[in-house]
């Protein structure tokens, strides 16, 4: 009988040895927390969301690691700005990332590695309007609504007593 295949457990510091991490480290960012955040976002984009052509570079003015990638083949290139959630940034920093010319995603990385992506766009973007069809309530429907809510209230108080 052949021996069962034993999976080698990765070493405790597998992140530090990961080639992508080494690559980002070589760019010499300003702080390690941002580097770690950038790596987590990289893993999320490549392994979880399966984005393509994900690469890392350094923003010269801000000295932070930026990521670039496409959601899938043929999709537009996005710039991703990974930041630990406890840090701050100024509007001028945001503008310098936007000036690269690609749509920007800000990714906030929490201490438990939760990732939240927000889209940043230059200028005024009108929000999507609420979905129709709309219908103004007539008097009968107003009365129905009120009766219904009064009934509910009565049932609640009845069940409590």
């Amino acid at each position: 009988m052949s021996a069962p295949l034993v999976e080698k457990t990765p070493p405790a510091n597998w992140i530090l040895q990961h080639p992508a991490y080494r690559q980002m480290e070589a760019l010499e960012p300003a702080d390690r927390a941002q580097l770690h955040a950038a790596f987590l976002v990289y893993m999320d984009l490549t392994e979880v969301r399966r984005w393509t052509e994900v690469s890392c570079m350094k923003s010269p003015e801000l000295r932070v690691i930026l990521l670039e990638g496409k959601e899938k083949d043929g999709a537009p290139v996005h710039t991703i700005l990974p930041l630990p959630a406890h840090q701050s940034l100024s509007h001028s920093s945001i503008c310098s990332v936007l000036d690269r010319g690609f749509p920007v995603l800000l990714c906030a990385v929490a201490s438990d590695s939760t990732l939240v992506y927000q889209r940043l766009t230059d200028g005024l973007v009108t929000p999507d309007p609420p979905v129709g069809p709309f219908q103004d309530l007539d008097r009968r429907q107003h009365r129905k609504r009120r009766q219904h809510s009064v009934q509910q209230h009565r049932e609640k108080t009845r069940s409590k007593s």
Partner: protein, 304 residues
């Protein structure tokens, strides 16, 4: 004294366009006169109505004059050609007005005190159970009569705006013309610069305290396609133009920050989350060097 280097107002604008009079009450800029309210609104400034109705004083739905202006709105009005602070009536006339006001307040307090006592007695009678003897009830009512005090702080003050002579009077115009706008203003704050820029682009702006931002921005340009999705009546009344907050929901929550001031990532997330909950785009606004303003829209990415 008129400054001769500045052209007279009649040359700048036709005679029919009135000058808006602002009354300052404890540093709050108020507009009382209907004519002034119309001018202000047709100029695209919304303000907030403060006055209530005498029969339903404790409500927030139907409000009337005066109109409270945002500090940015007041500044914009004063920088333009058509507004100045109304002079306070001084000297004898001022003293007489004050005396008459005090008299009215005192007589109102006496009336209200009588009515309040009646109210209290009725409430007491309702509350007293029938187990108390007739004598005990009378004792209680007597005690109330003796000890009841109606404090001045409980007085309901009613200002009758219709009867108080707040109609537009042409002779006040000569007072207002003499008040030139202040030449040396303090440097405009970032909030004011953003307000002025957005107003200049035709948007309507109101205060956004409810949403944690600085201003709510309503669509202003008539070519804005999203306003076509709302059902508009065939003829809009002349005072209400496209984008007026009476008819449209806001599109943006404007947050004014200085360009270099660091903002916490968590704060950005909080305000963006709030914006997506109410279906508005969060707008980060910063004035930049050449008087321009840079805008960044913050939206949910859709990536769960």
């Amino acid at each position: 004294m008129e400054d001769l280097s500045v052209p007279r107002r009649e040359e700048l604008q036709p005679d029919s366009s009135p000058v808006v009079g602002i009354s300052v009450c404890d540093s709050a800029p108020l507009i009382w006169r209907v004519q002034d309210l119309k001018v202000v609104r047709s100029g695209g400034l919304v303000g907030a109505l403060l006055g209530s109705l005498p029969r339903t004083p404790r409500q927030n739905g139907r409000l009337g004059r005066p109109l409270l202006l945002l500090p940015e709105e007041e500044r914009l009005l004063r920088e333009g050609p058509g507004a100045a602070v109304l002079p306070r009536p001084g000297g004898e006339r001022g003293a007489e007005l004050k005396r008459r006001f005090e008299e009215e307040q005192t007589s109102s307090q006496e009336e209200q005190s009588v009515l309040a006592l009646q109210d209290r007695k009725a409430a007491l009678l309702r509350a007293m159970t029938s187990s108390l003897t007739e004598e005990a009830q009378q004792d209680r009512l007597g005690a109330l009569d003796q000890n009841f005090v109606f404090p001045r702080s409980a007085l309901a003050v009613q200002l009758s705006t219709a009867r108080a002579g707040l109609h537009y009077c042409p002779e006040a115009r000569s007072f207002l013309e003499a008040e030139q706008p202040i030449k040396t203003q303090p440097s405009p704050s970032s909030r004011f610069q953003v307000f002025r820029d957005l107003r200049g682009r035709g948007f309507f702006l109101t205060s956004a305290g409810k949403f944690g931002g600085d201003f709510l921005v309503y669509p202003g340009e008539p070519r804005n396609l999203s306003c076509l999705r709302l059902r508009l009546p065939p003829v809009l009344p002349p005072l209400v133009s496209s984008g007026d907050p009476l008819r449209f929901h806001a599109h943006f929550i404007a947050v004014c920050v200085e360009s270099d001031r660091p903002v916490g990532v968590l704060d950005l997330l909080a305000v963006a989350r709030l914006g997506s909950n109410v279906k508005k785009t969060v707008l980060l606004c910063s004035p930049v060097a050449d008087g321009d303003v840079r805008y960044t829209s913050l939206q949910w990415s859709g990536m769960v």
